[in-house]
Symmetry: C2
């Protein structure tokens, strides 16, 4: 029995969610509500002491770290749908791409996402509520990130993160200019893990990701969105809205 604990289908939570859908594996989906800080609750920290989603429960054994979960699903639950290239060199390229997402691409996009979304959640709390909440966050670096989000990220950090996003989308577009997929000749975890971050950037980062400046990246995002399992996932799994409070 597989149970996935995650937020809605975006960022790191999208990676194992889409992997499970693509592979056609049955699983129970326990969606946590980030606006209620459910990932920092005691019941969830009993599953993942780091208080981070996603986590996979496979018959009582917990697997954490989104990219690790994706490879685990390939190792432990092989199906006809293979999301890793067979050729070792292509597989290495897949891992270079998934590693790059985890070490570079996801972080710059994350800061801007926090600036636009989490900041409002953090600022909506009273000083007492906020400090009480911080105590529930087990990773010191995450506590710092919450504090910075509430205070407002410094402009030079936001500028640097935007520079890195520019570098990232350029790198993706350049590669996709003469490759249909990121690693090898077929759709793989490299595509899923990068799509997890890149999807929606045509709207959220429209001056960087658009048909004129990054036509190949936009083509690839559209192609992935058109896949039957991707459509099924987005139809079934609701996305959160973490932006500023909507006007009444």
């Amino acid at each position: 029995m597989l149970t996935l604990y995650s937020f809605g289908p975006g960022a790191n939570s999208l990676k194992p969610t889409l992997t499970l859908y693509e592979k056609g594996l049955a699983f129970e989906h326990r969606l946590l509500d980030p606006s209620k800080f459910e990932h920092h609750s005691d019941w969830y920290k009993a599953i993942n002491p780091r208080g981070q989603v996603p986590a996979l429960d496979d018959g009582g054994r917990i697997v954490t770290e989104s990219t690790v979960i994706c490879e685990y699903l390939e190792d432990a639950h092989p199906t006809e749908v293979k999301l890793r290239p067979d050729d070792p060199w292509d597989r290495a390229q897949m891992r270079v791409w998934t590693k790059w997402v985890d070490e570079y691409f996801c972080w710059c996009v994350s800061t801007i996402g926090w600036h636009r979304g989490v900041r409002h959640m953090a600022q909506a709390l009273s000083e007492e509520e906020f400090e009480a909440h911080l105590k529930n966050i087990p990773i010191p670096e995450q506590q710092v990130k919450w504090r910075r989000a509430r205070e407002g990220f410094p402009q030079d950090l936001l500028d640097e993160e935007m520079r890195r996003i520019g570098v990232s989308v350029r790198r993706l577009d350049d590669h996709l200019a003469d490759h249909e997929w990121l690693a090898g000749s077929a759709y793989s975890l490299a595509d899923i893990c990068n799509f997890a971050i890149a999807n929606g950037m045509e709207k959220g980062f429209a001056d960087l990701v658009n048909k004129d400046d990054t036509p190949h990246l936009v083509r690839w995002i559209m192609e992935i969105n058109a896949r039957p399992k991707v459509r099924e996932m987005f139809a079934k799994v609701p996305r959160e809205h973490l932006g500023p409070p909507k006007a009444a």
Copy 2:
């Protein structure tokens, strides 16, 4: 034909070097001299455009990123020596540990290593030499790191990195208190990749890593150093000295 381009057996360069030795694979070892900035030379950037070691040439196909190279060697060149657990869950734990090295443990140790070693190299250059050299470094973030090394890292950064090193060695010692190896029941890439960073910390970080405070970590470092292939590697592959100039 396998050719490994690397520095001597420490940090990221140690990972694939030791993996090749442990697996008993024949390879040509092209050692680059960091004090001559060979990794930023044009001939090497033709192999790895990012100007980083290690890189593996397998019959003309280049694999980069130390952890990716290690898994590639298991995929492409299986031998009787298996450095990944067979059990998928144990293998996932191995990947959590190698990922943690790449995203956390290696960076805090690296900053202190740069503070103690690379700083002296950078400061020994004239302003003109230094600026000319910076132009050869292809990764902007690495340029920034070189500049900070020359200027001297700010004390609050050094303090934070030392805090993270403390967290890291505590985490390793706690796990090794009731596990012989980091992932599963046997020596694996999790051990090799962590050893790459932890080896020598009994000397370089003696007030954090010692028989009183981290007995299990010290036991594990000694056990790995006693392995025949580790001894063979250290006997054959010279280590660099990047510290301050030695007194005459």
